[in-house]
Amino acid sequence: MTHSEIDAQAGPVQVRGTVLTVRRVDAYYAMTLVAPAVAARFKPGQFVTLAVGGPDTSMLLSRAFSIHDVRPDHGGTVEFVFAVNGRGTQWLAERRARDVLDVTGPLGKAFPLPRDPANCLLIGGGYGSAPLFSLAGKLKERHCQVDFLLGAGSGDRVFGALTARRTGRTAIITTEDGSLGTRGVVTDMLDQAIHDGRTDVIYACGPMPMLRQITVLARRYDIPVQAAVEEAMACGIGVCMTCVLPVIGSDGITRMSRACVDGPVFRGESVRWDEVGTIPFDAFGAPGWEPRSRRAAELRNGHGRGGDIRVGSPGAGGAELSGQPDRGRADGGEPDGGHADRGRLESDDQPEGSRAARGHAARGRAERASAERAGAERAGADRAGADRAGADRGGAAGGGAAGRHGHGR
């Protein structure tokens, strides 16, 4: 996170929020708080944290909930959805109108929005669908088509099925017990949803395995995925370091990134889903990681270790420096390169100029390269050799292209 991002005026605030309503919504609760300062700063995808249990609480950790909606009434209200699955959420469910809560937000990065009208597929698992409806509103303002694909274990656990059907161009509902919509899980219906909706961009929020599955399937169609992750958090503001997951950065290096401030919305392809819950061997600061300077020195001296996956790490040396001939630059270096005509995303979460064209271009290339990393199954010596060559001449084209083809679309 850069200085300008965190110092931005639109940063979070800690306020006393007054409970307006707490209501049952099927298997969940929805709480509306009067918190004008939070509402004013909100962008879809962001979340709030709440202190639970009152001033003498024995529960010390903040509870984080993605914001479902904000409304202008009472100066500004914030609504979020939660399930009771512990003492903290039980306490929240017992709050009544006019109770006062300590609330901090809005926190985290918002969903980036397409620059031009696009067909957007919004996928939610359980009450992970909560943040998708305000997103749908924003997308429609930009003349995007919105399709919903919502799923859960049972009908009462699909949050917002009715709203989805009312507001979406289409809405597919899946339940594992078949009590609502199609029997199955959302990923069973993903192919159909993409075909029917001619999807350009996928937005998803839900459990990790679902997000992983969606990312894998979407890659087949070369559709970008913006995934809002659910990670256990203690603080929500970036200081406790508990909500980390392995994310490949714009420089091709995997870092244990904080879901609360670096996310919760990540590009699907940048998350190493299979390694969530672990420290990948080659992550920044992990045993297998080696400083770039040392690697560069090895390469200079011609002692690069062929076949070593670390040498083959995409973007390690040269990804920032040159484009990929196979993709061209028709996409203007957008993060979602290759979607020049559809689904280009911009994040209005970012302050002007903080990620200038260079940043975008670098990110686009490196993220493409990083996507290939997984696809290429770390293809051994050929791949590493190609990358090394690329690094030497200041370009990752070799490794990138090899990876992309290696993925076998």
Binding site: P12, V239, M241, W289
Partner: protein, 331 residues
């Protein structure tokens, strides 16, 4: 009436005694969204290591009654990034930077002390010899007086003479006074206590340990009585050595308790996780508590609980709103 809250960190004077606890405030940047980091006594940084470190796998955290376990494993970008990015930022905001350092070997600690001394603007160094989330579980430097002394001696030798060096101690020892004495003999200008206690939670649904790292450090109000005891014992044995007290401080009253036990400064940690502005709130509450007791100088109450009742009574202004007996009730 304004209370004189100035506190001494070794020979360095701080405007007030409230600081962040290492590992609970990053390098201050995130908190700056909620509080003015220059208004609290100092920002104690998350422990800085020589090289980048990815930490331990998730889950890294478990909530426990009035506490939490963490098993972060010192994730951080290393000292280069700290010096390049974080320290200049802290200084630009007018904050005082107490830099916590951690290492696997004595040489690493010494290198870190050297690097920090070369950079301008480090107010003090807190030597974390007691993080429980490292390889030799529980067997940290701070468990042994000789290894503690070795680290402190090396750091003191490399740190610039005018940068105070504080040793952060673990309560997971038989006799914390022995360790404290060893550190002070080795050149520590002061002591920080307490680090977290080693704990464990088992998930009774999965029937497996909850934390990926199996064990974690226990913090929060659950450990406050242990902090008070440790500070008391060390203050009793080494009355002239400044102490940074930490362990479960949630309110100004809690801070005062540690100060009465002998802490000159108080760090606020886990409470920040559910109240990002806790440091400035606690500072304000501490001032109120002192005013309520008719105390006009913080220094007057540091270690006051060690004094005989007659002295305590004299310090408590008779016209104050809280009588000595009332204090008992408030606990």
């Amino acid at each position: 009436m304004a209370v004189d809250l100035r506190a001494k960190l070794g020979h360095i004077e701080l405007p007030n005694p409230i600081m962040t606890a290492s590992g609970c405030a990053g390098a201050g940047r995130e908190l700056a969204q909620f509080i003015d980091v220059s208004k609290i006594g100092a920002i104690v940084t998350k422990s800085v290591m020589l090289n980048p470190r990815s930490g331990r796998p998730t889950p890294r955290m478990a909530e426990t009654p009035s506490g939490m376990l963490n098993s972060i494993g010192l994730q951080g970008p290393g000292v280069d990034a700290f010096l390049q990015r974080d320290l200049p930022w802290l200084l630009s905001r007018g904050a005082r930077a107490v830099v916590s350092i951690a290492g696997g070997t004595v040489a690493e600690y010494a290198d870190l002390a050297g690097r920090l001394s070369d950079a301008a603007g480090v107010t003090a160094i807190e030597v974390n010899i007691s993080c429980p989330n490292v390889e030799h579980r529980g067997q940290v430097f701070a468990c042994n007086p000789d290894s503690s002394a070795a680290v402190i001696e090396a750091v003191r030798a490399r740190a610039r003479y005018d940068i105070p060096v504080f040793a952060k101690l673990s309560p997971d020892v038989t006799d914390i006074v022995t360790i404290a004495k060893a550190c002070v003999s080795a050149g520590a200008d002061g002591l920080s206590m307490i680090n977290t206690l080693l704990g464990m939670v088992i998930d009774t649904d999965t029937m497996r340990p909850h934390l990926a790292g199996l064990t974690g450090g226990l913090s929060g109000p659950a450990i406050r009585p242990i902090a008070v005891r440790c500070i008391w014992q060390v203050r009793e044995a080494l009355p002239g050595v400044p102490i940074i007290g930490m362990g479960g401080v949630r309110t100004g009253r809690d801070a005062l308790e540690l100060i009465l036990a002998g802490a000159s400064m108080v760090s606020v940690g886990t409470t920040i996780f559910h109240d990002p502005s806790a440091c400035s709130r606690i500072l304000h509450e501490l001032e109120e508590e002192l005013i309520a007791r008719g105390v006009d100088r913080l220094a007057d109450v540091v270690g006051l609980a060690h004094q005989p009742p007659a002295v305590t009574a004299r310090t408590l202004n008779p016209s104050s709103r809280v009588s000595p007996s009332a204090r008992v009730r408030r606990i």
